[in-house]
């Protein structure tokens, strides 16, 4: 009887001890994972216990993945350096080509068709220049060299500026630009310099695909969380199957005018808008025109702190 009670007591004690042990181990494992997630894990003790073995293994695993991460960052740095080299080193030769093609064109006694050829060279060189500059901008945005700094501002001013930059081209093409600013001032949060570029690219695209006599107009509306800028054109519109692709890099419509554009403006525009915490959307009817809508975060203190994807 007494032996039985004693045996039961011992069993119970062992069981409790075991359970306590397991719980402690689990707790330590949980702690270790938390430390690893925070990035301050260090193997705490060295003895013959299983836990210590696990700690050592974990720290080995973590340092291996840290090493890998370091390698990747190093590769990225090299890539960035290469990109800025490309942009820097191609600048002079390209401007030389443009310059000499112009000088060639101004030579007296040049055969008639030589002038046209020189013009082609200059045009090609300018396109190459634009392409390289855009690629460099994109890669700087994507790799985080350029940080967007969204601040409170009036999108109306943004639209007016971008329209001014587009005005000459629109006039040349016989396209009317229109923007009726709403009577009440509307505020949004955006990076003024980059968003001006984004909006310019969208307007430029609209002008490009709208024929003489057409109209491109901008409409500004305030929602609760976003401010919406619509750019409507009366151009050729986009085929339904192509709508999803217009923001893709290097994508160009099947019936785009051959000479113009490289398919990068809208892609860059979307990257910028998304980077500011907004989004873009397009609606189009083939043959009738398109509406590109830019949504920028509306101004409320919440959004001031919306760190964007590039920061």
């Amino acid at each position: 009887m007494i032996i039985g009670v004693a045996a039961a007591a011992v069993c119970l004690a062992v069981l409790l001890l075991y359970r306590g042990n397991t719980r402690r181990t689990m707790r330590r494992l949980d702690e270790m994972l938390d430390e690893a997630i925070r990035g301050d894990f260090a193997a705490g003790r060295y003895d013959e216990s299983q836990l210590s073995k696990i700690e050592s293994k974990m720290s080995r695993f973590l340092s291996a993945s840290r090493l890998k991460k370091g390698q990747i960052e190093h590769e990225q740095d090299k890539l960035r350096a290469l990109i800025s080299d490309i942009s820097h080193q191609t600048k002079t030769p390209i401007s030389n080509i443009v310059l000499y093609a112009q000088l060639l064109n101004e030579q007296e006694g040049l055969p008639a068709d030589a002038g046209a050829l020189a013009g082609q060279i200059a045009g090609g060189a300018e396109k190459l220049n634009f392409l390289i500059q855009s690629l460099v901008k994109i890669s700087r945005l994507e790799s985080g060299i350029i940080k967007l700094s969204p601040q409170r501002g009036e999108p109306a001013a943004l639209i007016a500026d971008a329209m001014e930059d587009c005005a000459a081209k629109a006039r040349r093409r016989g396209v009317t630009l229109r923007f009726d600013a709403p009577p009440e001032p509307i505020f949004a949060v955006f990076d003024a310099r980059w968003c001006a570029e984004a909006l310019y690219n969208i307007l430029d695209n609209a002008v490009k695909y709208t024929g003489a006599g057409g109209e491109v107009c901008a409409v500004l509306t305030a929602y609760e969380m976003f401010v919406r800028i619509d750019v409507r054109d009366t151009g050729r519109g986009i085929r339904e199957e192509e709508i999803a692709k217009v923001f893709e890099r290097f994508w160009r419509g099947k019936d785009s005018p051959a000479a113009e554009g490289v398919g990068i403006g809208l892609y860059l525009a979307r990257e910028i808008i998304v980077g500011c915490g907004g989004y873009v959307k397009v609606r189009s009817e083939y043959g009738k025109g398109s509406v590109f809508s830019v949504f920028l975060p509306a101004d409320n203190c919440d959004k001031m702190r919306i760190a964007n994807r590039y920061s």
């Binding site: 969380m225 976003f226 919406r228 915490g277 989004y279």
Partner: protein, 226 residues
């Protein structure tokens, strides 16, 4: 890109013989991690059935659904319930908020239910992104429809699910508010690296997504892979 969600030959038939309804009739699709996909179709096209299958709310007649490489219907009901709670966020047309809890408590509810510690910084970011900082103490009854749906989205994101499934999330909202809510859904999806599958019958809203899947009579008409 990683494929986070994959269905192979998914079928759901109701009834038998001549009365058999093929709600889903062999749907195969793959969704990449971090993508925003919309599923459009008329009512009765099978899009809601598809969403229920993707979320493990209903078992298919045939075919598989893999989430993160795991065949979800190979699990028993209990395991599936836990898997769903930890990996899938839902947003429905009706917001399903608990009326006696304020916005913040509603957002935290699923995490508390799972007995997990709350990742305060993460929740803070979600509340901020969805523009709810000033509304956190408000009860659902004091919020507009758009705000209530934003709380529902925040609640779905709070548990860091690998996929967010939205069934007509703006069905009860006017078109202005809808664009607001969908914009935030899109922006927060991008910000928190969420994969989103949204069902809608509205073509305009569908275009917010990077990819549109058309479904009709239980079959995919286009957009399954891009």
């Amino acid at each position: 890109m990683n494929i986070v969600l994959r269905t192979v030959g998914l079928k759901k038939h109701y009834g038998a013989g001549e009365n058999m309804v093929r709600a889903l009739d062999g749907v195969s699709l793959a969704v990449e991690e971090g993508a925003f996909v919309s599923v459009v179709g008329t009512s009765g096209s099978g899009k809601s059935t598809l969403l229920h299958m993707l979320g493990g709310l209903d078992r298919p007649t045939d075919g598989t659904v893999e989430i993160g490489g795991k065949d979800i219907f190979a699990m028993d009901d209990d395991a599936l319930t836990i898997f769903r709670r930890r990996n899938i966020g839902f947003v429905f047309q009706s917001y399903n908020l608990v009326p006696v809890l304020n916005a913040e408590e509603n957002i935290l509810l699923p995490i508390r239910l799972d007995g997990n510690a709350v990742d305060g910084a993460y929740i803070e970011k979600i509340i901020e992104t969805l523009g709810l900082s000033e509304k956190r103490q408000s009860l659902p009854g004091q919020l507009s429809g758009g705000q209530q749906q934003r709380v529902a989205i925040a609640r779905a994101l709070a548990a860091k699910p690998s996929i967010l499934l939205a069934d007509e999330p703006t069905g009860n909202l006017d078109s202005r508010t809808s664009l607001d809510v969908l914009g935030l859904l899109k922006v927060s999806g991008e910000r928190f690296g969420q994969t989103i599958v949204m069902i809608t019958h509205n073509e305009e809203f569908a275009q917010m997504a990077e990819r549109i899947i058309h479904i009709e009579d239980g079959r995919i008409l286009g957009g399954a892979s891009r």
